[in-house]
Symmetry: C2
Subunit: 620 residues, 2 copies
């Protein structure tokens, strides 16, 4: 990996920072955040501006260029990668280390008095703007919104914004028409006396309109904004996409049922002026909902007195609770996914001894098997396929220069998932194809105990996920071990594999109470640096539980595994399991055998079926 | 309990709200919060202003009086009591119910336009002021500081502020001279570039100067403020208290070792003008620490640019981590406390069958036995002595009209503690003196399992207490049960029985990471309304644990019980215990027998010793 040469780019950017074509007065620093205008987790290549200017391609990082300096902040996952991808014009700011200054402190330390710091207000979230602006102002500087993006100004071969074909989803997949979703949303708006809701998250727009796209890799979304009022629905999107007859029909563009259900389509970029027009006509008591993570540019359009920022939008909450059709679809998707993984593991068992399977080829094979399944659309995130020491790198992704060969001597960890039209999957299994060491088995068993402790937990309605996180760690803690990531995240239904507002983590922000119908991952792990990584991940559905008593009629919840892929018994030190844990494993494997076995049989996948039956024998 | 008649008082207060003697212009509402100027949990009778105006004597509640209305907000613990103590001039605002408006919303709904709402800025915390002021301002009203307290103005027989004799604590009890504490505090101040620290919490002042008082019941503190600079120490206190030669000697008032260690004593009330003088002389980079819970009045003296509000002061954190001498003292105090409780339980066993023991007489007997122990000072909180259904009232305190007789048919719960010169205790035991029902035993056993799960937990250094809370609930949750309070609180050393900044609760605020030397309570419970209450509470010390591995050299922690009072085996359904839990009970009882047994023997308390030996027989 050789660093990107940025001398000329930095010269051009600094020129732009003084160029009156773009800015009213010179700015002394320019901030280049990671994200896009929708605060997406994965971004389109046209939005990879930070990578363009500094070379660093990781998912998180902020670059800041001043007249004299260029610095880039990223976290521990990416220290090595960033140092390899950036040339020496750049200073790597290692976040999380005590000696590393914050962006604010660093700016204040290097800027001349009364400096102006510029940023594209479309890329920075309103709350981030607020914090940065406050810090700079208190030091005598100011944060200014630069309307023209200065990276775009110097990025000559910047790819166009994608405008892929839209997929329309019928009731069979969604369980609810978009009109019903709009009606439910309006009911929530009127309950809270909200006149308008500005939808900025791409997955919320996709969910609301029962549409999907492929503008961004892994996330089946499309670039758009929406503004919903009590009597109007506006969709801001590349209007060319509305030429598709299926889309026209789906949105009833040519024959709307009522005025209130008429979708008014306008160009993507016109959201700004349209929102301005809406805000100009607001009554004194009108309130406008917008996510507090929305861009500063759009947030500022709404006069403060009318703005009702919310941490979680009603769509985010509604989307998180899956309906019966979505649950059914998620279950089907996971059965198909399990078929593909049974095929993969049966194939690996045969091929690994030949010494020809690598992390990359195994990942490719997994994708190949998945792509044979009905309604396969693509992967839901880049496959983590890792052998031995690579398994200890939590966000590892195999590259030609790191690619290891699978063998009978090392632990193999594969964390992968796919998008199917009926659901999204995400599963991690850790396997040994030879004889695992006692320590590997011991650690695997603690992780398994943690996985079961969460999966089998019974807890009251209204419990927040962070209260379950320690269950996943208890067995590891008892032996002095731990893992440095959360235990679970929300999973979308043929949508983003990571979605809010619920999860299971020691971090307590971003955590709405769990309720029946929510779907999250359960993925404790253990990572022995330089040696191996272990993670056991199922996607689980929150369901009603019926314990013996029902304190204050609150009701209880538990989880039902949706992922149905055997957990390698060879890796378990059964002496460390309690009777209850052993029963859980046997019951889980029985379900895998029955449900996935039937599908393997139906698909005539004999070898994989044999593998499944062998791997799901009860443990004594 | 008959309500307080408040017609005349309200008339007088409303008159004061218009009286130019107290205020520059009429105010339309006056807020009477619960607290004192130090945000103390327990308050002196001269500070019971809210009780004076409305009659309600509970520990939490805020009264607001407007020209037309009078309303009082309190929480679920006190709905019944408040409704009995207040006459019909008052509206009870039941906090936590959906239909109950917040104080802000209610004020906005009842006030005429452009109203002024008054409050004593010494009683309201700076952060509360900020929130209230913001809400009122946004609705066109304003919050104004009324310097003269309007309740005091009409409270003719208001008791004087207590000024009790001070107790000086030597190294034998504190392990650290006050000079060493000042030096350590200054080191933290200079590390954070802080010039001054305004100490407002009474327990922090008591801890810093190694002094105790009895101005407030249960909490051995005294009314004072302190301001510590790098070269000066100012103590604001009733100067008459400095006449005591022991105090003069202790504080070295007549022969200070150095200028930096000279305590300058000034009248309690002069803190305001002295802080003004200090602030007038601040350099441009000087920062002043003050708790964000400090009074609005004192906080506002410090110009915003110089103010460094902190959620936990360095004294709060230092005080929470007990040194070896304090730990030794706490252990001694708990052994003496256990002696008293063994006496109590042996006595109860004998007396209950006679039908003459009541909740109140049992509580009195407990106090009598405690008072026989060396260095006994007083109780650390009002004893909760409750029989049968009264046990289900979590904050119950026996009163003549609720007083029940202990019998062989009902569960008895006693939550009590004392102040000894060497330490503070807090212990809850739940006993049955006849034959408990299967359901009572089942619930008791779940609570015990939760207690053990926390007490025996091993967890990494730096873990916050809220991550352990679910361990205490897991067994209850599994059967659909729960309890609606936190699991534990910090405990002071001959100081407040409830202290920050650590604890074990599902609430995640007020929660600093646990570290070795901290002392907290572990007190899960179960409450069956109208029937019985169960709680098992030990005070536990955070200690280093030595598990098999040591991930990333973080180190591990666990708890060591300091409370050594038998847990009634008769209440345990041993079939529900795991082997590990049974071993924990047996080992705990062995420790009780050895340690407390030796002390009972030394004190020649034969009957109690026999009871102890009987109650600590191993379970099979």
């Amino acid at each position: 990996m050789s660093p990107k040469i940025t001398v000329e780019l930095l010269r051009q950017l600094r020129q732009a920072m003084r160029n009156s074509k773009y800015i009213t007065g010179p700015i002394q620093a320019y901030i280049v955040p990671s994200g896009d205008a929708h605060q997406s987790e994965y971004i389109a290549s046209c939005d990879c501006r930070r990578e363009f200017i500094c070379g660093f391609s990781g998912s998180a990082g902020t670059a800041i260029v001043t007249e004299q300096h260029a610095a880039m902040w990223t976290d521990g996952r990416y220290f090595l990668q960033a140092s390899q991808q950036m040339d020496n014009n750049w200073t790597l700011m290692k976040m999380g280390l005590k000696e590393t200054p914050t962006q604010e402190d660093w700016l204040i330390s290097v800027l001349p008095e009364n400096s102006k710091v510029g940023v594209d207000p479309w890329i920075i979230a309103a709350d981030q703007w607020k914090n940065m602006s406050k810090a700079l102002t208190s030091a005598g500087h100011s944060l200014v919104a630069v309307q023209e993006n200065l990276i775009d100004a110097i990025w000559l071969d910047r790819p166009p914004r994608p405008s892929t074909k839209l997929i329309t989803l019928g009731l069979k997949y969604t369980g609810m028409t978009w009109q019903e979703k709009v009606t439910a949303l309006r009911a929530k708006m009127s309950e809270r006396k909200i006149s308008w809701f500005v939808v900025t998250n791409l997955d919320e727009i996709a969910w609301l309109f029962n549409l999907r796209g492929s503008d961004i890799e892994y996330n089946p979304v499309f670039f758009a904004y929406a503004i919903v009022g009590m009597g109007t629905i506006r969709l801001f999107i590349d209007v060319k996409r509305m030429a598709d007859p299926a889309v026209r029909e789906h949105l009833q563009l040519d024959a709307p049922s009522t005025v209130e259900m008429t979708v008014q389509v306008a160009p993507y970029e016109s959201v700004y002026t349209e929102l301005q027009a809406i805000c100009a006509a607001l009554g004194p008591r009108d309130k406008v909902w917008i996510s507090d993570k929305a861009s500063c540019a759009l947030t500022e359009v709404i006069p403060k007195a009318h703005r009702a920022p919310i941490p979680y939008t009603p769509l985010c909450l509604a989307k998180a609770v899956k309906n019966a059709t979505e649950i059914q679809g998620m279950k089907m998707a996971h059965i198909k996914d399990a078929v593909a993984l049974c095929e993969l593991f049966a194939w690996l068992e045969k091929e690994i001894p030949k010494g020809t399977v690598t992390e990359i080829s195994a990942a490719d094979k997994a994708e190949e098997f998945r792509s044979q399944q009905k309604d396969f659309v693509g992967l839901s995130f880049p496959t983590i396929s890792s052998v031995g020491p690579n398994g200890a790198i939590i966000h590892y992704r195999p590259l030609p220069e790191t690619n290891r060969t699978l063998s009978l001597n090392e632990v193999y960890l594969i964390d992968s998932g796919a998008q199917y039209t009926d659901g999204t999957t995400d599963v991690t299994r850790t396997m040994h194809f030879g004889t695992p060491s006692a320590f590997e088995k011991e650690c695997f068993t603690y992780v398994l105990k943690g996985h079961i402790a969460v999966s089998a937990a019974i807890f009251p309605n209204g419990t927040k996920g962070h209260l379950l996180d320690s269950f996943a760690r208890s067995a590891l803690w008892e032996s002095g071990l731990d893992y440095l990531h959360g235990t679970g995240h929300g999973v979308g239904c043929f949508l983003n594999v990571h979605e809010g507002p619920c999860g299971i983590s020691y971090k307590t922000f971003a955590d709405e109470p769990l309720e029946a119908g929510m779907i999250v991952s359960d993925e404790p792990g253990y990572y022995e640096d330089g040696s191996f990584g272990i993670r056991i991940e199922n996607v689980v559905l929150v369901v009603q539980a019926k314990p013996k008593y029902n304190y204050r009629n609150r009701g209880s919840l538990t989880f039902e595994p949706i992922t149905l892929v055997p957990i390698q018994v060879k890796m378990i030190n059964t002496d460390l399991l309690t009777e209850k844990e052993r029963d859980w494993v046997n019951e889980y494997h029985r379900q895998c055998r029955v449900t996935v076995g039937a599908e393997l049989e139906r698909q005539g996948r004999k070898e994989a079926l044999e593998w499944l039956i062998r791997e799901t024998q009860p443990i004594a």
